[in-house]
């Protein structure tokens, strides 16, 4: 029971990590709370499902969903946020909420109001350590997440492009004076963050065996809470906070069985962090 819940928590945390990473990267370069990111996540699930029905390959459908979401992310940045950036910060935020609602409605109109079955037969090895065993779908989620996080880490810490991305997030004007096309870097950051959200959408679709129009509603606000918990714009902090919340949710509600709505837990954590450590777990003072 306990180990089963830990396994659930790891899988949940992994999906949170993939989703919140994009959010924290976007905040890093534009200082915008990108609520519509959860719409990209749901878009990824839908695109993944359609691609899977045509291609009948999980891996190919994952790739297609990530590419489509990357493109969608660039469109959001170019046509929604960048034109609004010179205005007070509440304006792009309202734009973002509006886009998110519009996306949910668009999914409903195009795909219908009901959940669509996402039936994949996952043939994947089952990972385990001692008494802790992950089921095949959990192993898949964990493996894909770790692979993507590893690639992102390599990109950011080992490449010139990653150096330019980190520098742009710290001080775009100064970075541009060294020949870095910071507008391109911002778009690229959106593309990568959105591709990760798309992957998260596909993984959740596969895990829950369904895709539905409002599947992004809870992640939309929960991921904001996780980003604040980890420290706004802090990538390792977001990953840590994601796994903490994933584990806390499954353990406190599944094992300790406290009578508390599961989805509210991230907010309790966020409120505590705002009260006692406003810069977040790993945020800089």
């Amino acid at each position: 029971m306990l180990f089963q819940q830990i396994a659930n928590g790891i899988a949940t945390g992994a999906v949170y990590a993939l989703t919140t990473l994009g959010l924290t990267m976007v905040y890093g370069v534009l200082r915008v709370l990108h609520v519509a990111h959860a719409g990209i996540y749901a878009l990824g699930a839908y695109v993944g499902l359609v691609a899977f029905r045509f291609l009948e390959s999980f891996w190919l459908s994952l790739l297609v969903a990530m590419v489509v979401c990357a493109a969608a992310g660039i469109l959001v940045e170019r046509f929604l946020y960048t034109p609004l950036l010179h205005l007070p910060r509440i304006v792009p935020l309202i734009g973002s909420i509006g886009l998110f609602i519009a996306m949910e409605e668009a999914f409903r109109i195009v795909a219908g109001p009901y959940a669509l079955a996402y039936e994949t037969e996952i043939r994947f090895l089952s990972l385990g350590l001692g008494p802790l065993r992950l089921t095949a779908p959990q192993s898949l989620i964990f493996t894909v997440t770790m692979l993507l996080l590893g690639l992102l880490w390599l990109l950011l810490s080992r490449s010139t492009l990653g150096l330019a991305m980190r520098a742009t997030a710290m001080d775009a004007d100064t970075t541009a004076t060294f020949g870095v096309d910071t507008r391109l870097i911002v778009s690229l950051t959106f593309a990568i963050g959105s591709a990760l959200a798309g992957a998260a959408g596909v993984l959740i679709g596969v895990y829950d065996n369904q895709v539905w129009p409002t599947m992004g509603s809870i992640p939309a606000y929960k991921c904001l809470a996780i980003v604040v918990l980890g420290g706004l714009g802090n990538i390792p902090g977001s990953v840590l906070a994601s796994f903490l919340i994933g584990l806390a949710e499954t353990l406190l509600i599944g094992v300790v069985a406290i009578p508390f709505p599961r989805d509210a837990l991230a907010f309790v954590a966020m409120i505590l962090v705002l009260m006692f450590r406003p810069r977040g777990l790993l945020g800089k003072g």
């Binding site: 001080d171 970075t175 541009a176 060294f178 020949g179 870095v180």
Partner: protein, 237 residues
């Protein structure tokens, strides 16, 4: 001969306030030009407009004969213009070495980047000791060294220096000016903007005096240093 940089009737405004009011000047290869003036005279604004961080209201900026007035900063950087900004603007969470690597962003060959880092460490051995430290942990003097070294990584055609002596201890001011003079002797073309008029005029070849957004005097650095008006206003009588 075409000047390296030519600025014609440059006007830069912040809202209603005209910070730079139609100034013209040029820099030739090998010049060490200085623009001196009081705080708020428009010196930093001029440099930021040349780098492309501010949009001029009117006027023209030409680099090696090509008009760059509307070109974004990163393309000007690729033409070989580098700015050491006021306040140094070290990227706080990047290490010293990463700051230098960013300075070499336009350098295509990894071998040349490595050579550049070696040159920077030879020029400022202090930076070598601190290579792995985050930029924000450096002292003000070390940050200034890093800001200059970072701007030199791409071997720029034109180096813009904005108030490099500001906030440094007197001994470090002397060292910084000695470094600038050495760079100039090795062939660098430099536009130096300074409140420390005495030091700037001592090492410059030519000079302009900027007062409330307009150029009021120009000439060789030696002539300006001997000018009674300059002496009285900027050199403490």
């Amino acid at each position: 001969m075409i000047p390296l940089l030519e600025v014609r009737n440059l006007e830069v405004t912040y809202g209603e306030f005209a910070a730079v009011r139609g100034i013209s000047f040029d820099i030739r290869d090998g010049d060490l030009l200085t623009i001196i003036g009081a705080n708020g005279a428009g010196k930093s604004t001029t440099l930021r407009a040349v780098m492309g961080l501010l949009r001029p209201r009117s006027g023209q900026i030409l680099f090696r004969g090509a008009e760059i007035t509307r070109e974004p900063a990163h393309l000007r950087a690729r033409r070989g213009i580098r700015l050491v900004p006021e306040g140094r603007r070290i990227l706080p969470d990047l290490s010293v070495e990463e700051n230098l690597r960013l300075g070499a962003y336009t350098v295509p060959r990894p071998g040349d980047v490595a050579d550049g880092i070696e040159r920077a460490f030879t020029l400022f051995p202090r930076l070598k000791e601190r290579a792995r430290q985050a930029g924000k942990t450096l002292s003000g003097g070390e940050q200034q060294m890093l800001a200059i070294a970072r701007a030199l990584m791409s071997q720029p055609r034109l180096l813009l220096l904005d108030e490099v002596s500001l906030g440094l201890m007197p001994i470090l001011v002397e060292q910084t000016f000695a470094t600038i003079q050495a760079l100039h002797r090795h062939g660098a073309t430099i536009l130096l903007v300074e409140q420390n008029a005495r030091m700037a005029l001592a090492i410059a070849t030519r000079a302009y005096v900027l007062e409330t957004g307009s150029i009021t005097l120009s000439g060789t650095a030696a002539d300006l240093a001997a000018d009674p008006k300059v002496k009285q206003a900027y050199l403490g009588g």
